[in-house]
Amino acid sequence: MTSPVAHAPPMAATAGKGIPSWARLGVIFGVVSAASIALWAPIGVSGTYPRFIGAILRRVTPEYAAANPYLVKMGSLLKPETFLVIGLLIGGFLASRMNREASPETEMVHAGEKTVSARYRDAFLGGFLIIFGARIAGGCTSGHIISGITQLSVSGLIFAAGVFASGIFTAKMLNAGGR
């Protein structure tokens, strides 16, 4: 029985015979992540969100921005991390267009998402929670899980345990009624 909710384009889980594409791409990403630590710093994405808020608040209400210890700690939007995020945007665009892929249709992710507006609502709510959670923990999938565990940091292992425990539970619960 096929799931009625998954409308993802068919994906090449394995690149023909031989090495599956996730394994090949994982090895390349491992080299990129190591090169990043060798040349610059460990990768990290979620800190750019509060730096963006800081840049806005410094224009709108400079007194508040200067008095907020968190915004002071996170610093300016001109940090290299922001350029990493710009790279993500361009990298995603180039990889999809160079492989002649059109913009993907909006995917319905859970059984409860019957309309596109329900999907937008879930994307918004999810976006809010991932950044709120990542900022409590001090990092996200890239900073804590990928480069955190790569550096053997204990915090990365604890964060990953929390993410997969509640992530697996949430994803299974949201789809439980739809089958």
Partner: protein, 179 residues
């Protein structure tokens, strides 16, 4: 120079995330429902290769490590909140940026949610988050510190364990259960 390195790392990371389909929220949901493990195995491969490489390179030349502090309560709570958002939205702070690059409409809502989340976090930081993050704070500790072992040995063993798990886990455990 750091900004250029960060931009190049971001470009590579964005392309890899796009190619492995980690920017697809449907694919992330299938991974969290444990129907398809390709993204989880991709991440584990990345960490395995990265940790072995950085700690071997560290024997030759110093790396730009940046270990995140292990404040157990905050890191775990943050991970659990992140996991709920990950399960609901199917996006990470970085994969939604890649998603916008390849033209996903719902990814825009994830970013908007993230920006609102960052604002909410900034406003509540001093009252709620900072006191919680003082609980059980062990500072910047690594697995090598905990085990009282040389970091390079821990890195090689962890990398081999991760690669072993990746090799043993089926990529599509859900495919068999479905028929």
């Amino acid at each position: 120079m750091d900004r250029i390195y960060a931009l190049l790392v971001g470009l590579a990371m964005g392309a890899l995330i796009q190619r492995v389909r980690a920017s697809s929220p449907g694919m992330i949901a299938r991974n969290l429902r444990l129907e398809n493990l390709s993204i989880i195995k991709f991440m584990a491969t990345t960490i395995a290769i990265g940790t072995i490489l950085v700690y071997l390179l560290n024997l030759v030349t110093p790396m730009h490590f940046d270990i995140k502090p292990t404040y157990v309560v905050g890191v775990l709570v943050g991970g659990l909140v992140f996991g709920v958002g990950f399960g609901v939205g199917g996006y990470c702070p970085g994969t939604c940026v890649v998603g916008i690059g390849e033209g996903r409409r719902d990814a825009i809502w994830s970013i908007v949610g993230g920006v609102v989340g960052a604002l909410a976090f900034t406003l509540t930081f001093t009252t709620i988050v900072a006191p919680m993050n003082k609980l059980m704070d062990f500072g910047k500790i690594t697995l090598a510190d905990v085990l009282h072992a040389p970091a390079v040995a821990v890195a090689v063993v962890l990398g081999i364990v991760f690669l072993g798990i990746v090799a043993l886990l089926p990529t599509e455990p859900g495919a068999k259960a479905k028929s």
